[in-house]
Amino acid sequence: MSDKKGKPVPLANEGLPAGERGLFCDAPPREYAPAAKIVEDFWNWARSQSLWILGFGTGCGAIELRPLMTSRYDMYRFGIQPRPTPRQSSVFVIGGYASVKTLKRIVRSYEQMMGPKFVVALGSCTINGGMYWDSYNTIKRIDQYIPVDVYIAGCMPRPEALLAGFQELKRIIRAGKAEGQNEYARNFEWYKANQKRVIKDWNMPDYNW
């Protein structure tokens, strides 16, 4: 895997105090070119069989993840399980509405996840604001800030809908079309500008790796 571009411009990390800038990464994310098709197909099959969810319930929709762990819905039979840290996770489930305060943590967690990584946006709030369409502190669509691979509509979607969404995600991954991570690297400036427009007190690295 190699990066397509040449040497990237270092990030300014202007939100950090001068003394701390050296502690964080100043390289923007890179796009990854796929390996030879047969190898990449095998990898994609493997990735789709082992989806590890970041255990970070960002909104009320996270309550629908709990039943998935129980014997009735049992997501483990699909190779899906929650992990306690972004470093070990490959799927980020945005659980419903995201306030600006939460969005900051979402961006930070998403960027800390290791690739390949995928985002499932759950509930109508992530799509068009849902019932928080006129809220002063809730963003109306999550795909302006991080790339989304699968949406699951509903308020709340039932656990069955979540399982269907995960099956859809697997299908996309196996087809090699889960390009969210590369999209984020490609349009990094655009995503960053959107994030900084709503997160007014930006006091973290520009890329939280």
Binding site: N128, G129, T138, R141, V198
Partner: protein, 177 residues
């Protein structure tokens, strides 16, 4: 309870005593006497527990209505003590020395309504919002929808329907209005 109402009226000019439930009453006092009233209730009458303190924006009367809820664990009786302060000059005496936890409520009111409590610990720090630059958002003249439209990107295609009319159209179109 009548007895307490009369004592409060006699000592502090309290008015508008209302028994909301058997175990809950409310009363209104002047803002300048609020601290004295709360001190007396706590030290003499057994209302030792500050359950919460909050504010309501009475924009029509150009005032903020502050409510302090105190509780007497001996009798199981709760008392809501109200007062009003000028909406143009929203400053209130801090009670953080009466109840240590009061500074949390005061910090909340500072951020949400812009009511100042001079001397209250950390009252100027952010409470639940981060990096908020707009006006205090719980004031009723703050237009949440306009702020949201101006700040957050929207996905086109969202429709709004009147629930009653839409249900009639979908479920029982034959029914008369």
């Amino acid at each position: 309870m009548r007895e307490l109402a009369e004592k409060l009226a006699g000592r502090y000019g309290a008015r508008e005593w209302r028994d909301q439930r058997r175990d809950l009453s409310s009363v209104t006092v002047d803002a300048q006497r609020m601290r004295d009233v709360l001190t007396w209730l706590r030290d003499e009458e057994g209302y030792v527990h500050l359950a919460f303190a909050t504010a309501v924006d009475e924009i029509e009367r150009k005032a903020f209505r502050l409510t302090y809820a105190v509780h007497n664990h001996g009798t199981g009786h709760g008392l809501l003590v109200h007062c009003e302060i000028d909406r143009e000059r929203p400053v209130m005496e801090s009670i953080h020395r009466l109840w240590g936890q009061a500074w949390t409520y005061q910090r909340e009111m500072k951020e949400w309504y812009g009511i100042d409590f001079p001397g209250s610990p950390r009252v100027d720090e952010e409470f639940v919002l981060e990096g908020w630059e707009g006006p205090p958002m719980m004031r009723r003249d703050f237009d949440s929808l306009a702020y949201s439209d101006a700040t957050y990107a929207e996905r086109p295609g969202r429709e709004t329907r009147d629930p009653a009319a839409y249900m009639k159209e979908k479920l029982y179109p034959e029914a008369d209005a």
